[in-house]
């Protein structure tokens, strides 16, 4: 029988899973993140769930493909604003 957890506790799977995405985004307070990490280290099912969401995040991050040429042009545009005002 598992003891009922308090509102800020993360010892039960349902609590961890509700907070899992925030945990993976680094958006949980440190104490809560530590509890989630502790749970994940001892719960295979939740750890698998965490790996799945992390894989989704990683896959989406791979879509990042900024045009370096465009970023460079924009940096030059910004720098030119400074240069122009300095010349006035």
């Amino acid at each position: 029988m598992i003891e009922r957890a308090g509102p800020t506790s993360f010892q039960h799977c349902w609590q961890v899973r509700r907070a899992l995405q925030s945990y993976l985004d680094g958006a949980l307070p440190r104490a809560a993140a530590e509890q989630v990490a502790e749970h994940l280290a001892s719960c295979d099912a939740c750890a698998r769930e965490a790996r799945t969401y992390q894989a989704i995040k990683d896959s989406l991050a791979r879509r990042r493909s900024p045009s370096h040429a465009a970023v460079q042009r924009l940096r030059e545009f910004g720098a030119a604003l400074i240069d122009e005002s300095d010349c006035r």
Partner: protein, 190 residues
Amino acid sequence: MEDSSAEAELSTRSQAFNKYVLPEVEVLYRVARSLTNQPADAEDLVQETLLRAFRFIDRFDGEHPRAWLLTILRNAEHSRHRRQRPQLFHDPEEALDRINAEPDRAGHGPEELLVDVVFDAVVERAFAALPEKYRRIVALIDVEGLSYACAAAVLDVPVGTVMSRLHRARNRIRRLLAAEGIAPRRGGCR
């Protein structure tokens, strides 16, 4: 005397722009890409943002430059929609030359080689199938790497809305992965 104080002010503006704005150009471009359909529109939008930021940099208090810039970008995007067409700027002059020259605008750079192609393909399909309001959030946070707070600033919605939409969106992606047998179905809880 007046000249030297005007010069000092100009120098402060330039320094502030250099310190707070220029380091954010890449983030601004990433966000602009997620808000516009065409790379050229994204570039126009960031140019407008930079112009506005330069104009108003003396009113900026130095706190949270990214959030400040994203608010400017959002407002610029609203104006752009009202105008219905992108606008090219003629100051500084070099900008037009660069835009007219049209160097490699297409995204480039080799993708990671060690990629689970099937997994990525399903995530891609699920991402494309998301309702617009979910897709935008995922694009800003997971694709472009913004924080909850910055995404909230861009979309002008509360942080709680960002979180709930983001989590629902990822749940949808996860469900599709499970349906295709790529991700495990939810395991039992204790």
